[in-house]
């Protein structure tokens, strides 16, 4: 969830100075300083000096294999995608300088939304400036005061923030627990507005939600259903439409939220829906209205990428192979993994604690491999995780190299 936290240097506290608004961050400042004082490289301040491909970059002067970028389908350097961006930059300029509802809707934004409608085979598509804003905007706008939101406790920060902003009654249930979800839905007043919010793939452990059962139960109690498919688009489901497609419930969900910053390979967020009144969202959804729209080059790259993902079945098959190989290999090396079987393109390696997790992260980066360090409070059950996200452009040999680096680093740190 919040891997990009970067803390500025703490100002020297002068003797006798009182507390101020920053005092609430003292614990996290101390934790961070404790880690850095052991001479560790800062896991939250990595700079990619040069990006060579979807799977390789120069980080801190070293050539590094990228295994934590969510660039699942490797579209960032696709020649057609890059060309579309260059063309749009030349034809439409560097930015729109305006909101979608004022001067910020260009031809490219409409074409991008059409690509999404075609990709998902749905009636409506609305593009937001980020995935975070898509969740924030849709959830806060449709579920307001007096309505109820039932959601998984491991939901992404953007979902929680959307719940808080809309002021609905928020009722969480235990992660992926079908029975706990039903019990809560059953107790909500029958006449209250209800929204169930689920994710296809949960990004911390890379596990998949039992959407077939959960969506059926939500419908039984008259709830609308929103599914965040950020980590499955382009990869899971026959047409890459996500876990909803794989579980055969895409026609029963009311809203799918997604992002351009993972498989699509750029930045932006979206919501697709078949709701007949969906278009009104463009006028009432504040995170859509009160911000500038995406630059023309971004929507052009997104549109091109989405259209190419429709025909990505070979890449999908290779990505599954990578995921299975890495899962099996890490397991054989003796690492503890977040899921028994590979369920997505995310493989989470469970670390004994934050200190050893940080040490392992540093050993990996020194040996030329980048993964995400995920730590409490962003993680379930306060686990420290090394999160690996695979790319369809990782070759079989690269997965082999990745395993070698894990073995070497794990032995250096004494975890395996």
């Amino acid at each position: 969830m919040s891997e990009g936290i970067s803390q500025p240097d703490q100002p020297q506290e002068l003797e006798g100075e009182g507390k101020d608004l920053f005092s609430k961050f003292d614990d996290i400042i101390a934790l961070r300083e404790g880690l850095l004082s052991q001479g560790r490289e800062d896991p939250f301040n990595l700079v990619m000096e040069k990006v060579l491909s979807p799977t390789r970059a120069i980080c801190n002067g070293r050539e590094t294999i990228l295994l934590g970028t969510y660039n699942y389908m490797g579209m960032t350097f696709d020649p057609d995608v890059v060309e579309a961006g260059k063309q749009a930059l030349a034809d439409f300029g560097s930015g729109t300088t305006g909101s979608r509802v004022l001067n910020g809707t260009y031809q490219g934004h409409k074409e991008c939304e059409q690509a999404l409608k075609d990709f998902y085979d749905m009636d409506h598509a609305m593009v937001f400036s980020t995935g975070y804003q898509a969740n924030l905007g849709i959830i806060s706008t449709i579920a307001g005061k007096g309505d109820y939101i039932v959601l998984d406790i491991d939901s992404h920060a953007s979902i929680w923030d959307g719940c808080a902003m809309g002021q609905a009654e928020v009722v969480p249930f235990k992660h992926n627990d079908i029975e706990a979800m039903e019990k809560r839905l059953k107790r909500i007043p029958a006449d209250a507005g209800k929204l169930v919010v689920l994710e296809g793939v949960y990004s911390m452990l890379g596990d998949v939600a039992p959407l077939k059962e959960m969506v059926a139960i939500a419908k039984k109690y008259g709830a609308m259903v929103l599914v965040d498919e950020a980590h499955s688009m382009g990869f899971i489901g026959e047409n890459g439409r996500g876990v909803v497609e794989d579980a055969g419930v895409i026609d029963d969900v009311d809203f799918i939220i997604g992002t351009f910053s993972k498989s699509v390979g750029t930045v932006g967020g979206f919501c697709v829906s078949n709701h007949p009144k969906f278009e009104i969202m463009r006028l009432v959804c504040r995170p859509y209205v009160f911000t500038a729209s995406l630059p023309p080059s971004v929507v052009a790259t997104a549109e091109t990428s989405i259209r190419k993902l429709m025909h990505g079945s070979n890449k999908r098959a290779h990505l599954w192979e990578n995921s299975k190989n890495l899962h099996k290999g890490l397991r054989e090396l003796g690492f503890k993994l977040g899921t028994e079987e590979p369920q997505s393109a995310i493989i989470a390696v469970v670390m004994p604690d934050l200190e050893q997790g940080a040490a392992m992260w540093e050993a990996l980066i020194r040996n030329g491999l980048y993964v995400n360090l995920a730590r409490p409070p962003a993680t379930p059950a306060n686990m420290t995780l090394l999160r690996c996200s695979l790319c369809a452009e990782h070759s079989e040999e690269e997965v082999g190299q990745i395993l070698e680096i894990f073995e070497k680093s794990g032995k250096e740190v004494g975890i395996i």
Binding site: Q167, E169, V170, P172, K174, R187
Partner: protein
């Protein structure tokens, strides 16, 4: 169920979560005295919800800081349902 009965039942449910064996009074706070983290809160609330067949939304939980307030809230929610 009257307040005393609700109190007795919640005390029983709190037992396994009270790892340090803190003596629970009306003023005992969940965050500072019992040191419940967010996951413990979720599990504890789920037990209470299932026992009394009620919903304590996160919005309502935000208003509850100590044990006495929890018992009052459950009594009220039970009467409403």
């Amino acid at each position: 169920m009257d307040r005393a009965q609700v109190d007795a039942k919640i005390r029983e449910l709190a037992e396994p979560f009270n790892k340090k064996g803190v003596t629970i009074t009306e003023e005992t706070t969940f965050q500072n005295d019992l040191e419940f983290d967010s996951l413990t809160v979720m599990d504890f609330v789920a037990e209470i919800e299932d026992e009394f067949d009620i919903i304590i939304s996160m919005n309502q939980q935000a208003e509850i800081e100590n044990y006495g307030q929890l018992v009052d809230a459950v009594c009220k929610l039970q009467a409403d349902s």
